[in-house]
Symmetry: C2
């Protein structure tokens, strides 16, 4: 029997609060004790990744308290309920089924008279077949010429995740002979976004993927019109250049305006949709369906690990609990995501949405205000770039910001250069190792301006190379981390009511139905 309780009603949380400030990283990570922590505080992930948390402010006592919190908060039971099809998204009265896009974790989930795993797989298959036909030249433009570019039109979850995944695998695909089509993305209602993309591509050989679950997203429909106008201006028939990813009930579903339609449903939130056809269509077109299948495989294996009841074998749950300790006990307001991989340049932006939109909430799943802090601010840029930018504050600022590093031993593109006895990839890896220790241990100096206090916690996920499987595992890890944190905070992590008010007011502005300050600002913007 699952009971959904606020964090501050759990006795394990009271015990955890008593452990505030317990671990001093400056001491814990020094000398051979530090090396022992690195060896011990490691959890295997899928696709050969490993989660290392030696430089987090935990020890065996804190870990025991986190285990107890996981037990009392019933994290395993809640995950089980989720993947077996309970109505976890209480606000919108929906199931939460994104994991089913990559594997069957529990019993069959039947909703609306349909086996949902079968449904998602069938849609992926439909997108795969379509992509294969495009690659084989069986689906072409009106002149019978092959499409060379795919352009995703979507915003939020229909943009950030698929875009981050595309960039993550672009160089890998080129190097491994599976790069099929260039992908571009149009998201912003700012007309300069669509204009810039359209001016940079050959529209006659471009295929547009329109992604909107409801079929009513303002930005996406506006950009669709923008694109259709450009196609017509070039003498092209838009219906020969567009496919839709939408729900079966949306106005786009059966329209003859599209070459094909691939379906998603209300049980997959936008920010969790990269493994559905929202990511599947564009990624299968760009890299081929086999690469997308490998990406799903990595995610499926990571999802299975999240079922582990032994906390030390469940990296997502452990990561989530350490995050709760940092946020609610240690009192840190933000978390930085720092991938040492240029291919992951937009991965932090995706995690920013995933985390902040899921858990940036002040009421629990029953709509009651909570009296503790929930989701932190998430931000980040790739290393080593960030080192020459905002790391100053991370090292010597007045607030402590926990850090999530990601690193790989091998590069993707297979080009490198040896300077001063080391390759660029070795320099990259040396830098992330060095940063972990600089943050943890700091360094005293006679000049206080050159002193580093240390005591700044980080974890790192290390992999061999950023492959499709590794990317899938990485994505699922963070999705599951966010899910577990939502369980601990007793939130509904799967709705986003906070985006509604702005939409309502914007419509009012466009209808000129405003007064007071809103009218004044509208006038200032010449609307």
């Amino acid at each position: 029997m699952i009971s959904w309780k606020n964090l501050d009603t759990l006795s394990a949380y009271q015990s955890l609060c008593a452990l505030k400030g317990r671990v001093k990283l400056q001491e814990a990570m020094a000398g051979e004790n530090g090396a022992r922590r690195v060896a011990a505080y490691t959890v295997p992930m899928a696709a050969g990744l490993q989660y290392h948390f030696a430089a987090k402010q935990v020890d065996d006592v804190v870990l025991a308290a986190l285990k107890e919190l996981a037990r009392e908060a019933q994290l395993n039971e809640k995950y089980e309920a989720l993947y077996n099809g309970d109505v976890i998204n209480t606000g919108e009265k929906r199931l939460v089924l994104h994991q089913l896009t990559r594997g069957q974790l529990g019993k069959d989930v039947v909703a609306d008279g349909v086996n949902k795993r079968d449904f998602y797989v069938a849609q992926q298959k439909k997108a795969a077949d379509f992509a294969n036909q495009v690659h084989e030249g069986k689906i072409t433009n009106a002149q019978g010429e092959k499409f060379t570019t795919v352009v995703q039109i979507g915003i939020g979850g229909s943009d950030l995740g698929p875009r981050a995944m595309y960039l993550a695998l672009e160089n890998w695909a080129k190097q491994n002979g599976c790069f099929k089509m260039e992908a571009r993305f149009i998201s912003n209602v700012d007309p300069d976004d669509a204009a810039s993309v359209l001016k940079g591509i050959d529209v006659a050989h471009s295929l547009f993927v329109l992604v909107s679950k409801s079929g009513t997203t303002l930005e996406t429909l506006t950009n669709e019109s923008f694109v259709k106008e450009a196609l017509r201006a070039a003498g092209l028939d838009p219906a020969r250049h567009m496919v839709a990813v939408t729900s079966e009930t949306s106005p786009l579903a059966k329209s003859s305006d599209y070459l094909a339609a691939f379906f998603m449903d209300d049980y997959i939130g936008g920010r969790y949709s990269s493994t559905s056809c929202v990511g599947g269509a564009v990624l299968s077109l760009a890299f081929g369906p086999d690469v997308f299948a490998r990406f799903l495989q990595g995610a499926a294996e990571e999802d299975a690990l999240a079922k582990e009841t032994d906390l030390m074998k469940n990296p997502a749950m452990l990561d989530a609990l350490i995050g709760v300790y940092e946020r609610n006990v240690q009192g840190y307001p933000a978390t930085a995501v720092l991938p040492y991989s240029q291919a992951l340049s937009r991965f932090p932006a995706h995690l920013q949405q995933l985390d902040m939109e899921s858990n940036g909430k002040s009421v629990n799943r029953f709509g009651e205000p909570v009296s503790y802090v929930t989701g932190p601010v998430i931000f980040g840029e790739p290393g080593t770039n960030g080192q020459h930018s905002f790391y100053q504050l991370l090292h010597q600022g007045t607030d402590i910001v926990p850090l999530q590093f990601v690193g790989f031993k091998k590069s993707q593109a297979g080009m490198d250069v040896t300077i001063q006895g080391s390759t660029s990839q070795q320099k990259l890896c040396a830098n992330v190792a060095a940063q972990i220790m600089a943050f943890a241990c700091g360094k005293q100096d006679e000049n206080p301006n050159k002193s580093f206090a240390g005591g700044r916690p980080s974890s790192i996920i290390i992999g061999d190379q950023l492959t499709p499987e590794a990317l899938g595992a990485l994505l699922a890890h963070f999705e599951n981390k966010v899910m577990f944190q939502g369980f601990v905070w007793n939130l509904n992590s799967f709705d986003q009511e906070g985006v509604q008010l702005g939409k309502v007011l914007a419509k009012r502005v466009l209808a000129h139905e405003t007064d007071g300050a809103l009218k004044a600002f509208s006038d200032l913007m010449d609307i």
Copy 2:
């Protein structure tokens, strides 16, 4: 006589602290009173921009306290000392002269026997002449063919600012007939960064701009070698394809490895160097020297406004002081930068460096620990994209995050579409106006999950169009805001000692001179 004092020793600060929580935006911004605030709380900026702070948690009483703080902290006097050539960067014993790259604000500054304004202008002229010769086909590759692409090799301040400025003006330049050359950027030591750029360009027609003040930046020199190897592999002479931007004393300055060298000096920090040749070379090559000159003009006018002693005529000082009130009195840990302009997609990343590297410090300018918080975490993405991502937390999360909006009435690219009675640009503007009010006033709902508490402060800078002048003004505004905040916090905003420890440890890793946890992490990364 200037006296440098800690914030918490100022009596004006004690008065300000007594005003915590004074203004309730839900009430202040409601009805006609809200409209009156919008009209009153407006400060003109350069290039036709305006700074609007009606939706900040201030009123005339708070503003009076901020004025008194500005007076007691001697903000005008400290700025005057800076532009007249005092040693403001105390840690490194350097002048701070980036404003001289765009105008003469005070008396002549002579250092090292040179009039520094003349020096910076001469270097800009040299870069302009070079750019003109490239555009005219007088400087070509070995085959006598024109260069079509410019690639900046730099990191941190040599990358983020110039990259953000290039993206900001790319569409504008194309639309206004002054787009000369495509620009690309290589920054990360990750070999996949350089590999990806090199694979995407025509190296035979590419000109590389190597930017390193010291001539010793690891990433930049490594990427230079990377590029040179690629040039040689293509049968090209690297010396025919490269220019350097560096200091006169650097090993790069007189090398025959470059077609030309443009100089900067130690009085301009990397993050303040976009208006020096660090930005000037690449931007003049991309858009022509006239566009760069217009960009400088906007910055110069904004710099002049920062001299105003009337706080209501000095937008940078006012913005800075409101930020101090939010950070130190209201206790907010982060600030989001939200440009409603896709062209400003990387402007938040530049401000993230500018702000966090300048003021992310725990010791004052004398090296003594301060007992108040300093620089906040800065993050952001363009709107409307962010609305579909992390705005959920901004609206309904448990922490309040002050917001900095930027918006323009006109788009850049001159393409638009009318859907449901409004253009995309109107929709964009309607959204930002709506967001300001949604954040300020919120909305009560019977369902607490659909309730918005409001009371979330924001300001907006509004302009007619993102032109070179407007961009220069925008850049200078934030540089000066950060400078004034550094004065208030009694920090040295112009050094960055916090980046050093990581560099030292990374070298040790590469030399295999490690033990303990650092060796353990190095082993995990296969170094």
